[in-house]
Amino acid sequence: MPEKFLMKGNEALAEAAIRAGCRYFFGYPITPQNEIPEYMAKHLPEVGGVYVQAESEVAAINMVYGAAGAGARVMTSSSSPGISLKQEGISYLAGAELPCVIVNMVRGGPGLGGIQPAQSDYFQVTRGGGHGDYRLIVLGPDSVQEIVDITFLSFELADKYRIPVLILGDGLLGQMMEPVEFPDISVEKPAKPWATTGMKDRPQNIIKSLHLDPLELERHNLKLQKKYSEISDNEQRMELFMCEDADLFIVAYGTTARIAKSVVVRAREEGIAAGLIRPISLWPFPNKAFEKIIDRAKVFLTLEMSCGQMIEDVKLTVNGRVPVVFYGRTGGIVPKFRDVLEKLRQLDRSDWHG
């Protein structure tokens, strides 16, 4: 039997990254993700890796750019205000098609906001975040074990598609402890003939995002769009929880999905035909999952720790066919089980076809 460890989400993520072959980490302190850089500073040197504490989040993401361009598996982590600072570099990484993993353990905003868990960076991460026509792959785990699994997957997808992958957690997922297992797999790192490693016995390699000729830039952007469309076709991930015969659906990811699961179980005991659609890939948004159940859906309730962000993707997916309603708390407050259950009971009592 594989060994089990009791670990904090942040530490499990860092350990998984090292096991996934990440050897370079560039960080900057910010609450609530400090255990990730601290773990990397302690353990990367043990495997011949390098931890550098940058002078700012801006510098850290540009170090990631340099390291990714040199062909390494590389990661950085931060929390909301720090992720805003990284957006310049993330746009350049996307433009230059450099693979890397970025972690956002979200805290409440806007501005300096607070340090309690939130999901209010959904717009930012699922719409690219910086300037230009680009997307990131965004994955939102809901447990420490899933943080581990998604970390392995993130490095794999980043290399496969030459794209930055963002792991979207929050202060709660990063801080809580759960038992985890690390998959016993041999990590395969693909060859990167495009990397700048010195032009011995081959033509010059250039890592860049500048295309001054508008036709050339349009070609480049269309190439990126083709890649995003391929990712959208192949990499949608979701969990359908008790959805088989449901007609009343909660849509929630990450921390709020944990609450939603408990609510769905209780609602079922009360005879309410509730189910949970839990997007794991937030971009691409798992719209295919909705098509399986939309014919019997009476209503979708999106549950978020924000003022309502993912609800826009749910509405785009549902496209007016079924009502979509929202419940959420913001500012670092986690929605309470009994409040969500009461919201669900109200929805169950409403006449959606009247």
Binding site: Y24, M63, Y65, G66, G69, A70, G89, I206, S209
Partner: protein
């Protein structure tokens, strides 16, 4: 048959540059390329291009290149060098890029003792965007954003990067040179060579600041622009070596 006495360094591509007549970038590119050739490190060199007039440096240097965001060259170079510790890594940056938006990146790269070489081209103005004030613009110097000259009471006095970086305690090589006469060009090349050798010997960070001409945005003919460097820039920005690693 004549004897070949002058040729294009292997570390420069056979591409005409886009630089204006009289611009110093061409000379400085050549000096860097000659040094890379002489040290025999071209095949393990990764250059970092800036944002500014030298943004297309990746089309001119004949080695692997990365293009960095504005001012972030030393951070990008840090990422490359930490992954490839035996590579030769240099950044090529202007004064808007390095002395304004990228000031934190260059100071911290020097503090960490990153084994990279920074070629810093100071022409006292933003060239590519059309001649705006830089942190290195001289007091009373006219630019498109200081039409009556840089007023000290509004904008202070220009930053002296070589002197500032010399105060960093971590060992490094810091020099300021220029290109306004052939003699200065030869001196400049020696400094560039020492800077790259500092890196090759693993002695630490190295930076060579060039006082360079921008005839277009200074509104001067090329020859006058070179005289302007000597007359106006050198008195404020003295030339010489500011710091040499003890073990050099």
């Amino acid at each position: 048959m004549g004897k070949l006495v002058f040729k294009r360094p292997e570390s420069l591509q056979k591409t005409p540059t886009h630089y204006c007549p009289g611009c110093s970038h061409g000379i400085i590119h050549r000096l860097v390329a000659e040094v890379i050739d002489e040290l025999g490190v071209r095949e393990k060199t990764i250059g970092i291009a800036p944002v500014g007039c030298a943004v297309f440096a990746y089309n001119y240097f004949n080695c692997d290149m990365q293009e960095a965001a504005h001012g972030r060259g030393p951070a990008v170079a840090t990422g490359v060098k930490r992954v490839l510790p035996r590579a030769t890594v240099f950044t090529y940056q202007g004064d808007g890029d390095l002395a304004s938006i990228g000031l934190a990146e260059v100071i911290h790269a020097a503090m960490r003792g990153e084994k990279i070489t920074v070629i810093f081209v100071n022409n006292a103005i933003y060239g590519m965007t059309g001649g705006q004030m830089a942190p290195t613009t001289l007091v009373n110097q006219k630019t498109t954003t200081t039409p009556t000259g840089r007023l000290e009471e509004y904008f202070g006095k220009p930053l002296k990067i070589a002197e500032m970086l010399s105060t960093v305690e971590t060992p490094s090589y810091i020099a300021r040179v220029s290109v306004f006469t052939p003699k200065e060009i030869l001196r400049a090349k020696k400094a560039v060579k020492k800077a790259f050798e500092t890196q090759e010997k693993g002695l630490g960070f190295s930076l060579v600041e060039f006082l360079a001409a921008c005839p277009t945005n200074w509104n001067l003919p090329p020859v006058e622009a070179l005289k302007w460097i000597e007359k106006n820039m050198v008195p404020y920005y003295p030339l010489g070596e500011f710091k040499v690693p003890e073990k050099f």
